[in-house]
Protein backbone atom coordinates (compact mmCIF):
# COMPACT_ATOMS: atom_id res chain seq x y z
CA UNK A 1 0.00 0.00 0.00
CA UNK A 2 1.24 3.49 -0.83
CA UNK A 3 0.44 5.81 2.10
CA UNK A 4 -0.98 9.28 1.59
CA UNK A 5 1.87 11.80 1.96
CA UNK A 6 -0.17 14.86 2.90
CA UNK A 7 0.87 16.46 6.19
CA UNK A 8 -1.95 16.49 8.72
CA UNK A 9 -2.41 17.55 12.32
CA UNK A 10 -2.78 20.85 14.15
CA UNK A 11 -0.17 20.78 16.89
CA UNK A 12 1.48 17.41 16.32
CA UNK A 13 2.09 17.03 12.63
CA UNK A 14 2.38 13.73 10.78
CA UNK A 15 1.68 12.14 7.45
CA UNK A 16 -1.92 11.14 6.77
CA UNK A 17 -0.93 7.54 5.96
CA UNK A 18 -4.25 6.34 4.56
CA UNK A 19 -4.23 4.27 1.37
CA UNK A 20 -3.34 6.52 -1.59
CA UNK A 21 -5.59 6.43 -4.62
CA UNK A 22 -3.99 9.16 -6.75
CA UNK A 23 -0.91 11.31 -7.16
CA UNK A 24 -0.84 15.10 -7.24
CA UNK A 25 -0.21 16.04 -10.89
CA UNK A 26 1.80 19.08 -9.76
CA UNK A 27 4.14 17.86 -7.01
CA UNK A 28 3.66 14.09 -7.43
CA UNK A 29 2.93 13.23 -3.81
CA UNK A 30 0.58 10.32 -3.08
CA UNK A 31 -2.98 11.29 -2.09
CA UNK A 32 -5.79 9.41 -0.36
CA UNK A 33 -9.48 9.88 -1.17
CA UNK A 34 -9.88 12.45 1.60
CA UNK A 35 -7.03 14.65 0.37
CA UNK A 36 -7.69 14.84 -3.37
CA UNK A 37 -9.09 18.30 -4.03
CA UNK A 38 -11.69 18.92 -6.69
CA UNK A 39 -9.07 19.71 -9.30
CA UNK A 40 -7.17 16.51 -8.46
CA UNK A 41 -4.30 18.45 -6.82
CA UNK A 42 -2.99 18.02 -3.28
CA UNK A 43 -4.28 20.64 -0.79
CA UNK A 44 -0.99 22.61 -0.86
CA UNK A 45 -0.78 22.87 -4.65
CA UNK A 46 -4.48 23.73 -4.78
CA UNK A 47 -3.93 26.50 -2.24
CA UNK A 48 -0.94 27.80 -4.22
CA UNK A 49 -3.28 28.18 -7.18
CA UNK A 50 -5.78 29.97 -4.98
CA UNK A 51 -8.23 27.04 -5.18
CA UNK A 52 -8.70 27.09 -1.45
CA UNK A 53 -11.24 24.69 -0.01
CA UNK A 54 -11.60 21.95 2.53
CA UNK A 55 -9.23 19.14 1.57
CA UNK A 56 -12.02 16.58 1.91
CA UNK A 57 -14.30 18.68 -0.28
CA UNK A 58 -13.99 16.43 -3.31
CA UNK A 59 -14.78 13.26 -1.39
CA UNK A 60 -17.61 14.95 0.45
CA UNK A 61 -18.95 16.36 -2.78
CA UNK A 62 -18.96 12.96 -4.46
CA UNK A 63 -20.65 11.32 -1.47
CA UNK A 64 -23.25 14.07 -1.18
CA UNK A 65 -24.01 13.91 -4.89
CA UNK A 66 -24.39 10.15 -4.71
CA UNK A 67 -26.64 10.24 -1.64
CA UNK A 68 -28.77 12.87 -3.27
CA UNK A 69 -29.08 10.87 -6.48
CA UNK A 70 -29.63 7.53 -4.78
CA UNK A 71 -32.27 8.96 -2.47
CA UNK A 72 -34.28 9.86 -5.56
CA UNK A 73 -33.51 6.70 -7.45
CA UNK A 74 -34.26 4.33 -4.61
CA UNK A 75 -37.52 6.08 -3.71
CA UNK A 76 -35.75 7.46 -0.67
CA UNK A 77 -35.20 4.36 1.37
CA UNK A 78 -33.16 6.63 3.55
CA UNK A 79 -30.52 3.99 4.05
CA UNK A 80 -27.60 5.82 2.60
CA UNK A 81 -27.98 8.93 4.64
CA UNK A 82 -28.32 6.71 7.70
CA UNK A 83 -24.69 5.56 7.54
CA UNK A 84 -22.74 8.29 9.33
CA UNK A 85 -19.04 8.92 9.81
CA UNK A 86 -19.07 6.71 12.92
CA UNK A 87 -20.46 3.78 10.91
CA UNK A 88 -18.02 4.34 8.08
CA UNK A 89 -14.90 4.59 10.24
CA UNK A 90 -15.14 0.88 11.12
CA UNK A 91 -14.67 0.03 7.45
CA UNK A 92 -11.52 2.04 6.79
CA UNK A 93 -8.65 -0.08 5.45
CA UNK A 94 -6.75 0.16 8.75
CA UNK A 95 -9.75 -1.11 10.72
CA UNK A 96 -9.73 -4.59 9.16
CA UNK A 97 -9.43 -7.32 11.77
CA UNK A 98 -6.83 -9.32 9.94
CA UNK A 99 -4.49 -7.05 8.01
CA UNK A 100 -3.61 -10.02 5.82
CA UNK A 101 -7.07 -9.59 4.28
CA UNK A 102 -6.20 -6.22 2.89
CA UNK A 103 -4.78 -7.31 -0.45
CA UNK A 104 -8.22 -8.28 -1.73
CA UNK A 105 -10.45 -7.41 1.15
CA UNK A 106 -13.73 -6.93 -0.62
CA UNK A 107 -14.10 -10.46 -1.90
CA UNK A 108 -13.51 -11.85 1.58
CA UNK A 109 -17.22 -11.36 2.01
CA UNK A 110 -20.01 -13.82 1.34
CA UNK A 111 -18.13 -16.93 0.49
CA UNK A 112 -20.25 -19.90 -0.46
Amino acid sequence: MTPCAVTTGFFTLGKCGQMAIAGCPSCGRALCADHVTEGGLCPECAAARNQVGHPAAAAAHRRRAYRHRSATEYSDYGWYTSFDAYDRAAFDPDAAGNQDFRDDGDDALVDS
Binding site: Y66, S70, Y77, W79, A96, D100, D103, G105, L109, S112
Partner: protein, 383 residues
Amino acid sequence: MADGHRAAYVAFDRFPSTKGSAVHIRHMAAELFDRYGGGLLCVLGGGGLPSYQREGDVEIVRFDAVVPNWLDRAEAFSAWVADRLAAHRDTLEVCHVRDPWGALPALSLGRRLVYEANGLPSIELPYTWPLAAPSTLAKIADLERECLLKADAVVVPSQVIARTVTARGVAAERVHLVPNGADPVPADVPRPPDAPGRYLIYVGALQPWQGIDVLLRAFARLADLSDLSLVICSSVAPSRSRALRRLAERLGLTGRVHWQHTLPHAEVAAWLAHAELSVAPLTASPRNLDQGCSPIKVWESMAAGTAVVASDLPVIREVLGEHGRLVPPDRPAELARAVRVLLEYPDLCADLGRQAREHVENGYTWTHARTRLAAVYHGLDLR
Protein backbone atom coordinates in the same frame (compact mmCIF):
# COMPACT_ATOMS: atom_id res chain seq x y z
CA MET B 1 -27.36 -6.55 -29.75
CA ALA B 2 -25.53 -3.71 -28.09
CA ASP B 3 -28.24 -3.02 -25.53
CA GLY B 4 -31.62 -4.20 -24.45
CA HIS B 5 -30.85 -7.12 -22.15
CA ARG B 6 -33.81 -8.86 -20.50
CA ALA B 7 -31.84 -10.14 -17.52
CA ALA B 8 -29.07 -8.93 -15.23
CA TYR B 9 -26.98 -10.76 -12.64
CA VAL B 10 -25.33 -8.50 -10.06
CA ALA B 11 -22.72 -9.61 -7.51
CA PHE B 12 -20.50 -7.57 -5.18
CA ASP B 13 -17.88 -10.28 -5.69
CA ARG B 14 -14.86 -10.59 -7.91
CA PHE B 15 -15.58 -12.82 -10.88
CA PRO B 16 -14.01 -15.02 -12.06
CA SER B 17 -11.90 -16.04 -9.08
CA THR B 18 -10.75 -19.26 -7.46
CA LYS B 19 -13.35 -19.07 -4.69
CA GLY B 20 -16.44 -21.22 -4.27
CA SER B 21 -18.64 -18.16 -4.72
CA ALA B 22 -17.30 -17.72 -8.26
CA VAL B 23 -18.20 -21.33 -9.14
CA HIS B 24 -21.67 -20.60 -7.84
CA ILE B 25 -22.01 -17.36 -9.83
CA ARG B 26 -20.83 -19.15 -12.97
CA HIS B 27 -23.63 -21.74 -12.84
CA MET B 28 -26.44 -19.53 -11.59
CA ALA B 29 -25.68 -16.74 -14.08
CA ALA B 30 -25.41 -19.29 -16.91
CA GLU B 31 -28.95 -20.51 -16.16
CA LEU B 32 -30.31 -16.96 -16.05
CA PHE B 33 -28.65 -16.00 -19.33
CA ASP B 34 -29.70 -19.24 -21.07
CA ARG B 35 -33.29 -18.61 -20.12
CA TYR B 36 -33.41 -14.96 -21.14
CA GLY B 37 -31.22 -15.06 -24.25
CA GLY B 38 -28.12 -13.45 -22.76
CA GLY B 39 -27.85 -10.69 -20.24
CA LEU B 40 -25.72 -8.28 -18.27
CA LEU B 41 -23.28 -9.47 -15.59
CA CYS B 42 -22.20 -6.73 -13.13
CA VAL B 43 -19.36 -7.86 -10.83
CA LEU B 44 -16.23 -6.57 -9.10
CA GLY B 45 -13.03 -6.30 -11.11
CA GLY B 46 -9.43 -5.60 -10.21
CA GLY B 47 -6.56 -8.06 -10.29
CA GLY B 48 -5.97 -7.46 -13.99
CA LEU B 49 -9.49 -8.40 -15.08
CA PRO B 50 -10.86 -6.36 -18.00
CA SER B 51 -13.50 -3.80 -17.12
CA TYR B 52 -15.62 -4.79 -20.11
CA GLN B 53 -16.11 -8.06 -21.98
CA ARG B 54 -18.60 -9.29 -24.52
CA GLU B 55 -19.11 -13.05 -24.77
CA GLY B 56 -21.85 -13.77 -27.31
CA ASP B 57 -25.12 -12.50 -25.86
CA VAL B 58 -23.57 -11.85 -22.46
CA GLU B 59 -22.01 -8.53 -21.50
CA ILE B 60 -19.67 -8.52 -18.50
CA VAL B 61 -18.95 -5.20 -16.80
CA ARG B 62 -16.62 -4.94 -13.82
CA PHE B 63 -16.46 -2.28 -11.13
CA ASP B 64 -12.80 -1.42 -10.61
CA ALA B 65 -12.81 2.03 -8.98
CA VAL B 66 -10.38 2.33 -6.06
CA VAL B 67 -12.44 3.28 -2.99
CA PRO B 68 -10.49 2.49 0.19
CA ASN B 69 -13.36 2.49 2.70
CA TRP B 70 -15.37 -0.73 2.36
CA LEU B 71 -18.77 0.84 3.05
CA ASP B 72 -18.06 3.68 0.63
CA ARG B 73 -17.02 1.08 -1.93
CA ALA B 74 -20.23 -0.90 -1.45
CA GLU B 75 -22.29 2.26 -1.96
CA ALA B 76 -20.23 3.34 -4.96
CA PHE B 77 -20.84 -0.14 -6.41
CA SER B 78 -24.60 0.36 -5.92
CA ALA B 79 -24.46 3.67 -7.76
CA TRP B 80 -22.42 2.16 -10.55
CA VAL B 81 -24.88 -0.75 -10.91
CA ALA B 82 -27.79 1.72 -10.99
CA ASP B 83 -26.15 3.45 -13.98
CA ARG B 84 -25.46 0.13 -15.75
CA LEU B 85 -29.04 -1.10 -15.26
CA ALA B 86 -30.57 2.23 -16.31
CA ALA B 87 -29.29 1.65 -19.85
CA HIS B 88 -31.54 -1.45 -20.04
CA ARG B 89 -34.56 0.10 -18.35
CA ASP B 90 -36.88 -0.55 -21.30
CA THR B 91 -36.11 -4.23 -21.75
CA LEU B 92 -35.02 -5.53 -18.34
CA GLU B 93 -37.38 -8.14 -16.86
CA VAL B 94 -35.42 -9.92 -14.15
CA CYS B 95 -32.54 -8.93 -11.87
CA HIS B 96 -30.75 -11.66 -9.95
CA VAL B 97 -28.66 -10.34 -7.03
CA ARG B 98 -26.58 -11.76 -4.18
CA ASP B 99 -26.38 -8.86 -1.70
CA PRO B 100 -28.11 -5.62 -0.66
CA TRP B 101 -25.66 -3.53 -2.70
CA GLY B 102 -26.94 -5.11 -5.90
CA ALA B 103 -30.53 -5.39 -4.72
CA LEU B 104 -31.06 -1.65 -4.05
CA PRO B 105 -30.51 -0.43 -7.62
CA ALA B 106 -32.49 -3.39 -8.97
CA LEU B 107 -35.41 -2.57 -6.65
CA SER B 108 -35.44 1.03 -7.77
CA LEU B 109 -36.12 -0.13 -11.34
CA GLY B 110 -39.17 -2.06 -10.17
CA ARG B 111 -38.34 -5.22 -12.13
CA ARG B 112 -38.74 -8.78 -10.83
CA LEU B 113 -36.02 -9.45 -8.29
CA VAL B 114 -34.47 -12.80 -7.39
CA TYR B 115 -32.36 -12.42 -4.23
CA GLU B 116 -29.89 -15.24 -3.78
CA ALA B 117 -29.05 -15.25 -0.07
CA ASN B 118 -25.83 -17.22 0.29
CA GLY B 119 -24.73 -15.13 3.20
CA LEU B 120 -25.88 -12.12 5.17
CA PRO B 121 -23.39 -9.23 5.46
CA SER B 122 -24.74 -8.29 8.90
CA ILE B 123 -23.50 -11.68 10.17
CA GLU B 124 -20.30 -12.11 8.11
CA LEU B 125 -18.94 -8.55 8.21
CA PRO B 126 -17.83 -8.55 11.89
CA TYR B 127 -15.28 -11.28 11.11
CA THR B 128 -13.43 -8.99 8.73
CA TRP B 129 -14.37 -5.65 10.30
CA PRO B 130 -14.40 -6.22 14.08
CA LEU B 131 -14.74 -2.50 14.82
CA ALA B 132 -18.16 -2.34 13.17
CA ALA B 133 -20.53 -1.27 15.95
CA PRO B 134 -23.71 -3.23 16.76
CA SER B 135 -25.71 -0.15 15.71
CA THR B 136 -24.00 -0.18 12.30
CA LEU B 137 -24.67 -3.89 11.86
CA ALA B 138 -28.29 -3.30 12.84
CA LYS B 139 -28.56 -0.74 10.03
CA ILE B 140 -27.08 -3.24 7.59
CA ALA B 141 -29.51 -5.92 8.87
CA ASP B 142 -32.38 -3.46 8.23
CA LEU B 143 -31.10 -2.94 4.72
CA GLU B 144 -30.97 -6.72 4.13
CA ARG B 145 -34.47 -7.20 5.52
CA GLU B 146 -35.84 -4.45 3.30
CA CYS B 147 -34.32 -6.04 0.19
CA LEU B 148 -35.36 -9.59 1.15
CA LEU B 149 -38.94 -8.53 1.85
CA LYS B 150 -39.24 -6.73 -1.47
CA ALA B 151 -37.72 -9.56 -3.54
CA ASP B 152 -40.09 -11.65 -5.67
CA ALA B 153 -38.15 -14.81 -4.88
CA VAL B 154 -35.43 -15.57 -2.35
CA VAL B 155 -33.10 -18.41 -3.32
CA VAL B 156 -31.18 -20.09 -0.50
CA PRO B 157 -28.64 -22.93 -0.63
CA SER B 158 -29.56 -24.52 2.73
CA GLN B 159 -32.44 -25.01 5.15
CA VAL B 160 -30.50 -23.11 7.83
CA ILE B 161 -30.42 -19.93 5.70
CA ALA B 162 -34.07 -20.54 4.75
CA ARG B 163 -34.96 -20.48 8.47
CA THR B 164 -32.84 -17.35 8.98
CA VAL B 165 -34.57 -15.40 6.21
CA THR B 166 -38.07 -16.54 7.18
CA ALA B 167 -37.28 -15.47 10.75
CA ARG B 168 -36.63 -12.02 9.27
CA GLY B 169 -40.14 -11.89 7.90
CA VAL B 170 -39.85 -13.30 4.37
CA ALA B 171 -42.93 -15.37 3.47
CA ALA B 172 -42.01 -19.07 3.36
CA GLU B 173 -43.64 -19.57 -0.07
CA ARG B 174 -41.24 -17.05 -1.59
CA VAL B 175 -38.15 -18.88 -0.26
CA HIS B 176 -36.77 -21.51 -2.64
CA LEU B 177 -34.12 -24.05 -1.73
CA VAL B 178 -31.46 -24.51 -4.42
CA PRO B 179 -28.55 -26.39 -2.82
CA ASN B 180 -25.11 -25.94 -4.30
CA GLY B 181 -23.74 -28.86 -6.26
CA ALA B 182 -20.70 -30.30 -7.95
CA ASP B 183 -19.98 -32.13 -11.15
CA PRO B 184 -18.67 -35.71 -10.80
CA VAL B 185 -14.93 -36.01 -11.33
CA PRO B 186 -13.90 -38.61 -13.95
CA ALA B 187 -12.55 -41.77 -12.28
CA ASP B 188 -9.30 -41.68 -14.30
CA VAL B 189 -8.29 -38.09 -13.49
CA PRO B 190 -4.45 -38.10 -13.31
CA ARG B 191 -2.64 -37.59 -10.00
CA PRO B 192 -1.21 -34.06 -9.62
CA PRO B 193 2.56 -34.31 -10.32
CA ASP B 194 3.59 -32.53 -7.09
CA ALA B 195 1.18 -34.41 -4.81
CA PRO B 196 2.80 -36.01 -1.73
CA GLY B 197 2.33 -39.78 -1.12
CA ARG B 198 -0.66 -40.07 1.24
CA TYR B 199 -2.42 -36.86 2.11
CA LEU B 200 -5.44 -35.32 3.78
CA ILE B 201 -6.86 -32.33 1.99
CA TYR B 202 -8.59 -29.09 2.89
CA VAL B 203 -10.00 -26.98 0.03
CA GLY B 204 -11.39 -23.49 0.43
CA ALA B 205 -10.84 -20.01 1.77
CA LEU B 206 -9.07 -19.25 5.06
CA GLN B 207 -11.57 -17.18 7.06
CA PRO B 208 -11.70 -17.86 10.82
CA TRP B 209 -15.05 -19.70 10.55
CA GLN B 210 -13.48 -22.39 8.32
CA GLY B 211 -11.67 -23.91 11.34
CA ILE B 212 -8.30 -24.53 9.69
CA ASP B 213 -6.61 -23.88 13.04
CA VAL B 214 -8.60 -26.83 14.44
CA LEU B 215 -7.44 -28.95 11.50
CA LEU B 216 -3.78 -28.01 12.07
CA ARG B 217 -4.03 -28.89 15.77
CA ALA B 218 -5.68 -32.20 14.88
CA PHE B 219 -2.98 -32.94 12.32
CA ALA B 220 -0.29 -32.29 14.97
CA ARG B 221 -1.82 -35.21 16.91
CA LEU B 222 -1.15 -37.51 13.94
CA ALA B 223 2.61 -36.99 14.07
CA ASP B 224 3.20 -40.77 14.33
CA LEU B 225 1.75 -41.22 10.83
CA SER B 226 4.99 -39.99 9.28
CA ASP B 227 3.97 -40.85 5.70
CA LEU B 228 0.84 -38.66 5.92
CA SER B 229 0.80 -35.05 4.69
CA LEU B 230 -1.82 -32.33 4.84
CA VAL B 231 -2.53 -30.40 1.66
CA ILE B 232 -4.25 -27.02 2.06
CA CYS B 233 -5.63 -25.80 -1.26
CA SER B 234 -6.30 -22.17 -0.40
CA SER B 235 -8.60 -20.26 -2.72
CA VAL B 236 -7.02 -16.99 -1.55
CA ALA B 237 -3.61 -15.35 -1.88
CA PRO B 238 -0.59 -16.53 0.20
CA SER B 239 -0.63 -13.30 2.24
CA ARG B 240 -3.86 -14.48 3.91
CA SER B 241 -2.25 -17.69 5.16
CA ARG B 242 0.51 -16.00 7.22
CA ALA B 243 -1.14 -16.50 10.61
CA LEU B 244 -1.97 -20.15 9.85
CA ARG B 245 1.56 -20.83 8.58
CA ARG B 246 2.93 -19.44 11.84
CA LEU B 247 0.59 -21.74 13.75
CA ALA B 248 1.73 -24.74 11.67
CA GLU B 249 5.34 -23.81 12.45
CA ARG B 250 4.65 -23.58 16.19
CA LEU B 251 2.95 -26.98 16.07
CA GLY B 252 6.06 -28.47 14.44
CA LEU B 253 4.27 -29.24 11.17
CA THR B 254 6.72 -27.52 8.81
CA GLY B 255 7.38 -29.87 5.91
CA ARG B 256 4.26 -31.95 6.54
CA VAL B 257 1.79 -29.27 5.45
CA HIS B 258 1.77 -28.46 1.71
CA TRP B 259 0.22 -25.15 0.74
CA GLN B 260 -1.33 -24.64 -2.68
CA HIS B 261 -2.71 -21.19 -3.43
CA THR B 262 -5.37 -20.09 -5.92
CA LEU B 263 -5.24 -23.27 -8.01
CA PRO B 264 -7.51 -23.16 -11.06
CA HIS B 265 -10.81 -24.85 -10.26
CA ALA B 266 -10.20 -27.62 -12.81
CA GLU B 267 -6.97 -28.68 -11.05
CA VAL B 268 -8.55 -28.89 -7.59
CA ALA B 269 -10.65 -31.90 -8.66
CA ALA B 270 -7.50 -34.00 -9.23
CA TRP B 271 -6.12 -33.04 -5.79
CA LEU B 272 -9.43 -34.03 -4.18
CA ALA B 273 -9.76 -37.31 -6.06
CA HIS B 274 -6.34 -38.60 -4.96
CA ALA B 275 -6.59 -37.60 -1.28
CA GLU B 276 -7.12 -40.19 1.44
CA LEU B 277 -9.71 -37.98 3.13
CA SER B 278 -11.15 -34.52 2.67
CA VAL B 279 -11.66 -32.46 5.84
CA ALA B 280 -14.20 -29.65 6.38
CA PRO B 281 -13.56 -28.50 9.97
CA LEU B 282 -16.13 -25.63 10.08
CA THR B 283 -16.46 -24.00 13.48
CA ALA B 284 -19.62 -23.70 15.58
CA SER B 285 -19.76 -19.94 14.98
CA PRO B 286 -22.77 -17.68 14.28
CA ARG B 287 -21.75 -17.61 10.62
CA ASN B 288 -22.22 -21.40 10.31
CA LEU B 289 -24.98 -21.92 12.90
CA ASP B 290 -27.25 -18.87 12.55
CA GLN B 291 -26.58 -17.82 8.98
CA GLY B 292 -25.80 -21.17 7.35
CA CYS B 293 -23.97 -22.07 4.15
CA SER B 294 -23.73 -24.88 1.62
CA PRO B 295 -19.99 -25.55 1.48
CA ILE B 296 -18.88 -26.23 -2.07
CA LYS B 297 -15.73 -27.92 -0.68
CA VAL B 298 -17.94 -30.70 0.73
CA TRP B 299 -19.99 -31.06 -2.45
CA GLU B 300 -16.83 -31.24 -4.57
CA SER B 301 -15.16 -33.78 -2.27
CA MET B 302 -18.26 -35.95 -2.53
CA ALA B 303 -18.31 -35.62 -6.30
CA ALA B 304 -14.65 -36.68 -6.40
CA GLY B 305 -15.52 -39.87 -4.50
CA THR B 306 -13.31 -38.92 -1.55
CA ALA B 307 -14.56 -39.68 1.96
CA VAL B 308 -15.31 -36.53 3.97
CA VAL B 309 -14.70 -35.85 7.65
CA ALA B 310 -16.61 -32.73 8.67
CA SER B 311 -17.93 -30.85 11.69
CA ASP B 312 -21.27 -32.01 13.01
CA LEU B 313 -23.32 -28.89 12.19
CA PRO B 314 -26.85 -28.67 10.75
CA VAL B 315 -25.50 -27.22 7.49
CA ILE B 316 -23.10 -30.14 7.05
CA ARG B 317 -25.75 -32.74 7.93
CA GLU B 318 -27.89 -31.31 5.15
CA VAL B 319 -25.13 -31.77 2.58
CA LEU B 320 -23.33 -34.88 3.75
CA GLY B 321 -26.17 -36.84 5.33
CA GLU B 322 -25.06 -40.39 6.10
CA HIS B 323 -22.32 -40.33 3.50
CA GLY B 324 -19.43 -39.06 5.57
CA ARG B 325 -18.00 -38.98 9.09
CA LEU B 326 -19.24 -36.21 11.39
CA VAL B 327 -17.20 -35.00 14.37
CA PRO B 328 -17.97 -32.41 17.06
CA PRO B 329 -16.84 -28.96 15.85
CA ASP B 330 -13.84 -27.15 17.39
CA ARG B 331 -12.41 -30.39 18.89
CA PRO B 332 -8.97 -31.19 17.46
CA ALA B 333 -8.67 -34.45 19.44
CA GLU B 334 -12.01 -35.75 18.14
CA LEU B 335 -11.11 -34.77 14.58
CA ALA B 336 -7.72 -36.48 14.83
CA ARG B 337 -9.33 -39.64 16.20
CA ALA B 338 -11.91 -39.78 13.38
CA VAL B 339 -9.18 -39.33 10.75
CA ARG B 340 -7.05 -42.04 12.36
CA VAL B 341 -9.96 -44.52 12.49
CA LEU B 342 -10.91 -43.92 8.86
CA LEU B 343 -7.30 -44.31 7.72
CA GLU B 344 -7.21 -47.66 9.55
CA TYR B 345 -10.24 -48.88 7.55
CA PRO B 346 -9.60 -48.04 3.88
CA ASP B 347 -12.55 -50.20 2.74
CA LEU B 348 -14.94 -48.15 4.87
CA CYS B 349 -13.36 -44.98 3.47
CA ALA B 350 -13.82 -46.19 -0.12
CA ASP B 351 -17.45 -47.11 0.62
CA LEU B 352 -18.18 -43.68 2.07
CA GLY B 353 -16.57 -42.03 -0.97
CA ARG B 354 -18.59 -44.17 -3.39
CA GLN B 355 -21.88 -43.51 -1.58
CA ALA B 356 -21.17 -39.78 -1.47
CA ARG B 357 -20.43 -39.70 -5.17
CA GLU B 358 -23.65 -41.58 -5.99
CA HIS B 359 -25.60 -39.19 -3.76
CA VAL B 360 -24.28 -36.22 -5.77
CA GLU B 361 -24.83 -37.93 -9.12
CA ASN B 362 -28.43 -38.76 -8.21
CA GLY B 363 -29.58 -35.27 -7.33
CA TYR B 364 -26.93 -32.67 -6.58
CA THR B 365 -24.90 -31.93 -9.69
CA TRP B 366 -24.85 -28.37 -11.03
CA THR B 367 -27.30 -29.55 -13.70
CA HIS B 368 -29.75 -30.42 -10.91
CA ALA B 369 -29.13 -27.04 -9.24
CA ARG B 370 -29.77 -25.25 -12.54
CA THR B 371 -33.01 -27.19 -13.04
CA ARG B 372 -34.18 -26.09 -9.58
CA LEU B 373 -33.28 -22.47 -10.36
CA ALA B 374 -35.07 -22.71 -13.73
CA ALA B 375 -38.22 -23.74 -11.83
CA VAL B 376 -37.92 -20.55 -9.73
CA TYR B 377 -37.67 -18.39 -12.90
CA HIS B 378 -40.56 -20.33 -14.43
CA GLY B 379 -42.69 -19.56 -11.36
CA LEU B 380 -41.85 -15.86 -11.72
CA ASP B 381 -42.73 -15.84 -15.43
CA LEU B 382 -46.17 -17.30 -14.66
CA ARG B 383 -47.04 -14.50 -12.26
